[in-house]
Symmetry: D3
Subunit: 251 residues, 6 copies
Amino acid sequence: MRADGREQLQLRPIHIETNYLMHPEGSVLISVGNTKVICTASIDDRVPPFMRGEGKGWITAEYSMLPRATETRNIRESAKGKITGRTMEIQRLIGRALRAIVDLEALGERTIWLDCDVIQADGGTRTASITGAFVAMALALEKVSKTKKLAKYPIKDFLAATSVGILENKQVVVDLNYIEDSKALVDMNIVMTGNGEFVELQGTGEEATFSYNELQELLKAGQDGIVQLFEIQKEALGEEITSKINSRKEK
Amino acid sequence: MRADGREQLQLRPIHIETNYLMHPEGSVLISVGNTKVICTASIDDRVPPFMRGEGKGWITAEYSMLPRATETRNIRESAKGKITGRTMEIQRLIGRALRAIVDLEALGERTIWLDCDVIQADGGTRTASITGAFVAMALALEKVSKTKKLAKYPIKDFLAATSVGILENKQVVVDLNYIEDSKALVDMNIVMTGNGEFVELQGTGEEATFSYNELQELLKAGQDGIVQLFEIQKEALGEEITSKINSRKEK
Amino acid sequence: MRADGREQLQLRPIHIETNYLMHPEGSVLISVGNTKVICTASIDDRVPPFMRGEGKGWITAEYSMLPRATETRNIRESAKGKITGRTMEIQRLIGRALRAIVDLEALGERTIWLDCDVIQADGGTRTASITGAFVAMALALEKVSKTKKLAKYPIKDFLAATSVGILENKQVVVDLNYIEDSKALVDMNIVMTGNGEFVELQGTGEEATFSYNELQELLKAGQDGIVQLFEIQKEALGEEITSKINSRKEK
Amino acid sequence: MRADGREQLQLRPIHIETNYLMHPEGSVLISVGNTKVICTASIDDRVPPFMRGEGKGWITAEYSMLPRATETRNIRESAKGKITGRTMEIQRLIGRALRAIVDLEALGERTIWLDCDVIQADGGTRTASITGAFVAMALALEKVSKTKKLAKYPIKDFLAATSVGILENKQVVVDLNYIEDSKALVDMNIVMTGNGEFVELQGTGEEATFSYNELQELLKAGQDGIVQLFEIQKEALGEEITSKINSRKEK
Amino acid sequence: MRADGREQLQLRPIHIETNYLMHPEGSVLISVGNTKVICTASIDDRVPPFMRGEGKGWITAEYSMLPRATETRNIRESAKGKITGRTMEIQRLIGRALRAIVDLEALGERTIWLDCDVIQADGGTRTASITGAFVAMALALEKVSKTKKLAKYPIKDFLAATSVGILENKQVVVDLNYIEDSKALVDMNIVMTGNGEFVELQGTGEEATFSYNELQELLKAGQDGIVQLFEIQKEALGEEITSKINSRKEK
Amino acid sequence: MRADGREQLQLRPIHIETNYLMHPEGSVLISVGNTKVICTASIDDRVPPFMRGEGKGWITAEYSMLPRATETRNIRESAKGKITGRTMEIQRLIGRALRAIVDLEALGERTIWLDCDVIQADGGTRTASITGAFVAMALALEKVSKTKKLAKYPIKDFLAATSVGILENKQVVVDLNYIEDSKALVDMNIVMTGNGEFVELQGTGEEATFSYNELQELLKAGQDGIVQLFEIQKEALGEEITSKINSRKEK
């Protein structure tokens, strides 16, 4: 049993509130335990200059935290005048992950901006952002498809993410909260598609290492957790969008 | 009747959800119509270097908007690497307003950080921020006073703010939404204390001017609106905190 | 009697030296007591990108202080790499104020850059900047109208500004110098047009508040002071320009 | 056979020139095929402020490229005024990897600065940087240990890195050059210790995904490559340093 | 005869107005023809951190131009967020030049800040800045010496600067105005001391070169011009300060 | 005899390794004693916006040092977010010097980027950069002329640079190493063309001055040193390129 009463391979309670904000094309408030992230998807009918004329779309992500999303107040990156390395790494990861399951040609010359703003942090903010951003993006594309003709439905598969890790007591666990994460020997983020393929795998031993066998255990734990996330995403998106993604996936 | 069905001097529906986040000493989600702001108050047991040793506290505010708080997506200030003039003006206003009703000596050598993050914008974000930040600050001071001995209760009076303006049809209205604000001839923000004194008055004719008589009408409209905000603040804070502020005020 | 020997409602000696510099289309050195500001107006035959093709002009202002304009040396904003909130607030105020009395359509697709550089500061630099910038702008437009055909004379009225305040002894005074300003309970900047309308009103209680009656007294004091500024502006501009503004105003 | 004539699992020719520069405590020029990186290790007898008094050392890395290290000239990050996300990600990776095999307590309150400057790039610059920085660091610690008493030899094991990937033709290959890397479906960087444990694993499908079986193949290929890198490191460091690391490792 | 009617080796009319501003310890407005620079000297009773405890003083200079000092408006460096290379070069030159004739030990642990703000530019702004800054510094040191005990009078000699150049017609001229400077083949700035020694010599052929004989002619022309500047400085400083500098120089 | 055993007017051993890197059009590694600089020349078939349509080319230079090129580690300019005044001064000097001997019209609308990256510093990095950049540029133009038709061969003469100075013992020396440079009374950089004309002359007394006679001695010493550099450049470039430059020079 873990400090918060969970089993080793048990996720925290997860809730996705759709259409959370009035302005964005798609938006959710995703809660993973006490971690809460507002994810919005904005669709812009242009692509960045370096991509113009190629007939393809682009997906880009930004990530931020409110100053008091955390236990002690963080200085805003706008006040510092620059973005930290951690933020850059996370927003590059989110963008890359989402691009893996979108048919950028079917999207046409459009940019999807994914904004993930953490309002409360308790570990796993980057994986919650990916899981939530996927839903916000699907909602936004649904809205767009009502008024603009897309050549083909552009989402090729479901996408979700979770963290796994090895605690100080050598236990392999899934969906680490902040306390667990800050003391873990090994921390790994896994992003997977609905058909069980990997999109990203980032495993790190901070002042520690991990063996081949431990890696296998971590992968298994992550896979089991992510399967549950897909069910929650499907419920949030509803049958119509779910079946569009599924038909595209089968092809 | 106004475009959204309100009377000239009618505020939008206002709701203040207290203790909205788990980490900050005080926090609220304030909604003024469709405008939604997360206000947090963080208490730091130090003051800025230029104030050390003076036995007084300090209050400082920061203000930001999520990129999709608005109809079209705004570039983040962290991505631009600098804060806009508008943001600076607003955060200076919020800090100054709150300092006017706090006894900084009673606070002791502490800093109160007020963070106002607009998650949805529909006009009046700066006045909503002031009204909400007051509540967050009172909640934070309550929490602090449980564990740390304050010489005296530091809040000297209630504080709230609203906007008034003159629409294109020359009507004087209170609590302008975004559509009204963007077309108004005159826009005025009023910050007042519980005992009816002014703290800030900022009236601007954008490519327009206003007469002495119009000014009097605007002041009256603002005053009437702010009186209603105090009732909502009192309800949010509860009887205990309200009576602490009231006893301090009477002295 | 005030510390510098003035009556409560007496302005400091004011002098406006026109055509102070050789390069700008319009320029003045305005002295308000010991406060000295170089105001220049530059006319650019283009508007910012977001306004192109609308057939309207634009007015924008920048404000700065020499490092030793003040008692102790200030670090240059260029050395800091960013503009302070105070500077931003002031330059936004100057631009907004001037736009209120210019017919931007009559100006055509031109930008007027107003640069206000304080070479010596003794309180009231922002109001001196507005009063001086108005004269520099009128001189620049006169020069432009010699060579370029304007549809209509674009200045709709005179514009001047002063500060009023409540001193520690509760006296209401006009045109505060630095010593008075730094200790005042309430500080208010008033910008008015030649026909007695308000353009901007910014009243602030720094760790203090003010009543409705005090506000009325402050407004009256400001109005009386500004009337005198208009006379000084007219003398500086000369009869020809004054009568152009007056004829436009009467329409 | 690959485009450059290599077998699927064959590394490029690797050369490590030690003591390449006169000033740094440790330095190498590492060549991995046409990729050339100058790695230096500088030892500072202080730690960052947040670590003072803890009796532990710190390791931090910086990474950069000469503007013409690449086919087309890149704008310098100093000219842009900020570091790109890619650079930040790489320097965080290098620092984290090296910290995993150093006993920071044995190091004492010292900082090791690792600077990896790519003078010629042909793929695999981050893994070459890690492999080279390890050698530079060992050389620097050797020099330090001549004059300063270290409680214990601080390097706990060898450390090296390589890339593996899946090419467009679905082949799994090791040590991708630039051409291969830019077209690969999957790209994975692996950092391992001398005793075969993982330190970092970063696998990414850019607009692609990879299966569990493909992952196993990639891991195997990386492991085989890294074993060869350890031999080249040992030769560069010489017997004395190699045996110090080995004795520490056995404990 | 030159375009403005001057002889080849004739300086423009020069005027130095001392004590131009009320706040700085020393200040002048120097005019060299139409070039006008406000030079102030501020004395700070501290040195930069890297010099503390050495018992020596420091001199540092900053240089800037008002946006409309020139024919067309320049963007402010504060608005750009960075200082141009030209500004840096000039302010480094001014500081270095002044340090050459000050006994930094006699100054004690003090910093002299020299601020040179060009309000009107017509060529030769850097040399006018040096000539004016010398006078401002001497005035400031005079004021300081009234209240603080200096071990020794710190100014070791007079210092002034001018420009010389070769025009398109191959004429060697002194004190180039803007029109001459912008077309000159060779441009040289010369800084000299009262006893005829060089402090700085910066000669540049912009897309041109100059021979040994031309160099000799340029040096002679500069020397003759600078001798005249010393007389103007002496008149501005008055007999008392002049004789202090002279007695120090003789030793 | 000097500390490193050289005669007063003896250069350090100089070596120029051509085509040092695979990607740039031209590149060298130049060693002047222990000072080592990688100079690359990149040719871009465009000119900066302000020069378009004029039928002329442009040459621009950038200069940087690796953090451990020096005895103690320097913070990277990219990490600071800005370029120091020293770097700006040097890169402006390099660009200006090279432009003096190139026929920009013969170059056509092309930009030559010269990048000088100091990998090891022991005094004289800016003059080594100029001497090396000349060779890199000539190599790059040779490569370009193979595929693109140039109206005329664009290099008008050889160009090289060295430093001269006056040591504490009043000796005039050439090509100062770091130890000499840091203690020299006077430091002068001289850039000359193959036919003995000056391009740049920058002499500085840091807290010292120099007489007319000393200047003559410095110029003579520099001239003698630079003549030797031309021989080394010719050897590095080979006969074909040397004779192209010589024929252009003779015209």
